[in-house]
Each structure stands twice: as C-alpha cells, then as structure tokens.
Amino acid sequence: MKHLLSAADLTLDEVNGILDLAEEMHQVQTRPVKKLPALRGRTVVNMFFEDSTRTRSSFEIAGKWLSADTINVSGKGSSTSKGESLRDTMLTLDAMGVDAFVIRHSSSGAVAQAAGWVKAHVVNAGDGQHEHPTQALLDAYAMRRHFREHDAEGWAGKRIAIVGDLLHSRVVRSNVLLHRTLGSEVVLVAPPTLLPTGVETWGCEVTSDFDAVLGECDIVMMLRVQRERMAGGFFPTPREYADGYGLTLERLERLKDDAAICHPGPMNRGVEISSEAADAANSLVLEQVAAGVAVRMSVLYHLLGGSDEGGQA
C-alpha cells in the first residue's frame, strides 16, 4: 500500500489485514511499555489544516507507539499563514526526507491531489466533505468486536443505519465504500434537506423515516449535526431535528436487543443523540475512541512497515 486516500482503495483482504493487526495493536495499549520498534527511524508528519482533537492525537500516539518520529504542522503558525501554498509546504517537508504525511484539509480532494506531489506515503485524515477512511476502519473495528461478543461474526446480512447530516459528512462516504467491500447492508437516514445529490447512485437504501428502519438495524450510527448547520436552514430547530432524527430514549428502547450505537464524535447530546443513548451499555462510542489508536497504528504499519517497494509478504 502506497497511500490510504479512500476507503474504496482497500480490498477485502487489506481491510481484514488492517482490522486483524489492530487487534494486536490494541493489546499494546494495556502494556506497561506502550512501544513497538517497527517504525524506528521513520518520520510521520501530521498536517492538520482543520481543527481536530481525537484524529490528530490518535495519529500522533499511533506513530509514537510504533517508534516513528512524529511532528505536527497546523495551518496556524506554519508558513501557510504567510501565504505558502499547500504544495510548497509539502514539497518542503518532502525534501527534508519525511516518510509519511497524515493530512486533514477542508477541501474535498486536496489530500488525493497532495499525494501526487510527494515521494512520501500519504494518509487521508479527512478531506472536506469527501472521505475519512481511518474513521470508517475504526468504526468497522468496533462493530466487528461487538458482533464477536454477541456470537454473530460476519458482515453478510448485517444492517447498518447511518443517520443524520449525510450532506456534509465525510464519515458517511467512507463508511458506505468500506461496507460495500465488507458486504454489509447500509441504510442511509436523513431529512430530505440533508441528502446529498446523487445519493441514489450510492447503492444503499435511502429513507427519511428513521422510525421505519430503527427496529431492524444491527448498528445505528448517529452523525454529528455540525453546529454551523443548525442555523443554515437545513432543519427548523435542533429540537425538531431531535424529534425526527435523534436517537432519543424512546427510540433507544425500540432498538433490537443486540444492536449497538456508534457515533464518530464529538457528540451533541440532546440533538442527534440523547445522553441515555450515548452512555447506554450498547453504545460503542468509547470503544471507537480506543480503537482509533490501534487502527491507526495498523494503518501506519501497513504503509511504512516494509521496504519502500511495497506489497505484502
């Protein structure tokens, strides 16, 4: 693997390889010495041109626990604030001999474009409203563990509802692509104003009636209502959004017994998810966060763990 730009880049074997290794990496989190030497001497640059706590810190921890040297470059405080282009910033760092870039950028497609400029490996840590492949991988990791605990392993026949602001979400696109590879069923739920154009071509069931699909889903993934959208005329009030599309206490009680709840965070409690649902026994929210480091360690190892000729032994 040279880059991870889109969830669609991964074959089923590669997805399973990443998730399996993440299981091993997860164990490292519980050790007194949280360090593996696999990426000693490699340098990973985190370039985050958009705010992020969990993604940036988990990539940084993942790199450090694999013994890579990690540095952070943010939009503010770097030469980009003096007007340097993304391309020049990256070429500068590439010339220093870094091995990988982990990039978050507010423009859809910026990361894929950047991958063409540099010799180093590139990981997409979220580009605009396009994709966030490592989020989809860690979601799948948390779901897979949940299915295993309930003796229901395997993706075939699993029904996963993704609910909320599909229009502005990169998480949903990466999840749809990943689950196409895994072979599970995705049903997309959103108010008509928050459905992306062309969603009917994604190959998923699409509905605006959450209650109609609620009782038949194995996973309910609630997407964050982005604060800036609340005043954007996409729905009347947060309260009305919660009534139609929030995982309220009343809806929580109608989920299947072994269904689980996901949320990529950060959560707006009381809007898309009630506190009861966020803290429920079948909520995977904290598992998703814990999985973030393990899955990103696995991704970095798959990209940087071998010789630069790539391929899999």
């Binding site: 390889g17 091993e24 696999a38």
Partner: protein, 184 residues
C-alpha cells in the same frame, strides 16, 4: 531456480521421533530449572506456538502441575523489516506477567539466531523476567549471533542452501521435519 533442479525433500525426523525429541526437551528444561516452578513458555509464531503447548502438556504430565503458555510475535522487532515487503504480524498473547518468571522461548528451527535476538527485545518491552531460556526443536547451525539453545530436540548438520522445514499436526496436518536443497 527451476523446479527440477531441487532435490525432493527428505524426512529427517518422523512423527515418533518428533514426540521423543519433545519429551527430551521437556526433561532438559525441567532439569535446568530444578522443576517447573516459575516457568512461562512463550511460543514464537507460527510453529513455536503449538510446540510450546505440547511442551507444556509434557511438563504437566511429568511434574503434575500446569505451566502457563502463550505466544510472542517478534515481527515488529525484526532487524530486516525494512528489507522486505510488509510482513503479516502474528499474535502476542502472554498469560499473566513475565516479571520474575523464567521465560522459555520456544521455536521450531534455530538458524541465524536473529529471530531469538528480536525475541529478547520483545520480552524486554513486556517486563523483566528472572531468566530467559531457549528451547528449539531443530538446531541447524550457521549462527550469526552469539546465541545458544538450552533445550534442543535435534542438532543437524546443514549446508546454508538447504531448507529445513518443520510440519506440525496443528498447523500442517502432519508431524515431520524435512530437509531439501535449493528453492522452496
């Protein structure tokens, strides 16, 4: 190398002999340790793991006490990671703690010694054992590092271009060790 230039594989240890070799190894370990106290067997994937389990079974029969068994993957500690395509990482599963235990590393073939050197580093990240011992089914020589095994099933003379292959019932459906010349 074309396939027809390779010798057919020759069986050097069959199923019965493999069983006796393991029994010998179990006795060697128990003698050196004056019993089974504090022993912790860690198999190195792939075939070191079933070998460690069998040794634990034999020790349990001899001493009438169970010893903990686990697996220790050393892929990420290899000194040749950067020289090969990305390697698949195996399972590390250590029961309890290695602190103050007598850790016995178990592997199928001892050759250059580099795997075992990597295993020392892996153990060190897990804690501080009282001692680390090494048990191998086959010692084929050609060491590149100052490493020796404490328990050996069989020492064999090999040429560097020969290939020693251990097959076990758990992983390959049959217990045998073969030697062949040339390509895989």
């Amino acid at each position: 190398m074309p396939a027809d230039s390779t010798d057919p594989a020759r069986v050097i240890i069959d199923s019965d002999e493999l069983g006796r070799a393991l029994a010998r190894m179990a006795h060697q370990l128990l003698e050196a340790n004056h019993g089974a106290e504090n022993l912790l067997l860690l198999g190195i994937p792939t075939r070191g793991v079933p070998l460690a389990r069998r040794l634990a079974g034999l020790i349990a029969e001899i001493e009438d006490r169970t010893v903990p068994v686990g697996s220790l993957d050393i892929t990420m500690y290899r000194d040749d990671l950067r020289r090969n395509p990305t390697r698949v990482v195996g399972r590390t599963d250590v029961p309890g703690s290695v602190d103050d235990a007598v850790v016995v590393l178990v592997d199928d073939v001892l050759y250059s010694g580099r795997t075992i050197a990597a295993a020392f580093d892996a153990v060190r990240d897990l804690g501080r054992p009282r001692a680390v011992r090494l048990a191998v089914l086959v010692d084929r020589g050609h060491r590149e590092l100052p490493i020796a095994a404490d328990a050996v099933g069989r020492r064999i003379q090999t040429a560097a271009d020969e290939r020693v292959r251990v097959r076990l019932a758990e992983t390959d459906g049959v217990d045998e060790v073969t030697i062949s010349r040339g390509a895989l």
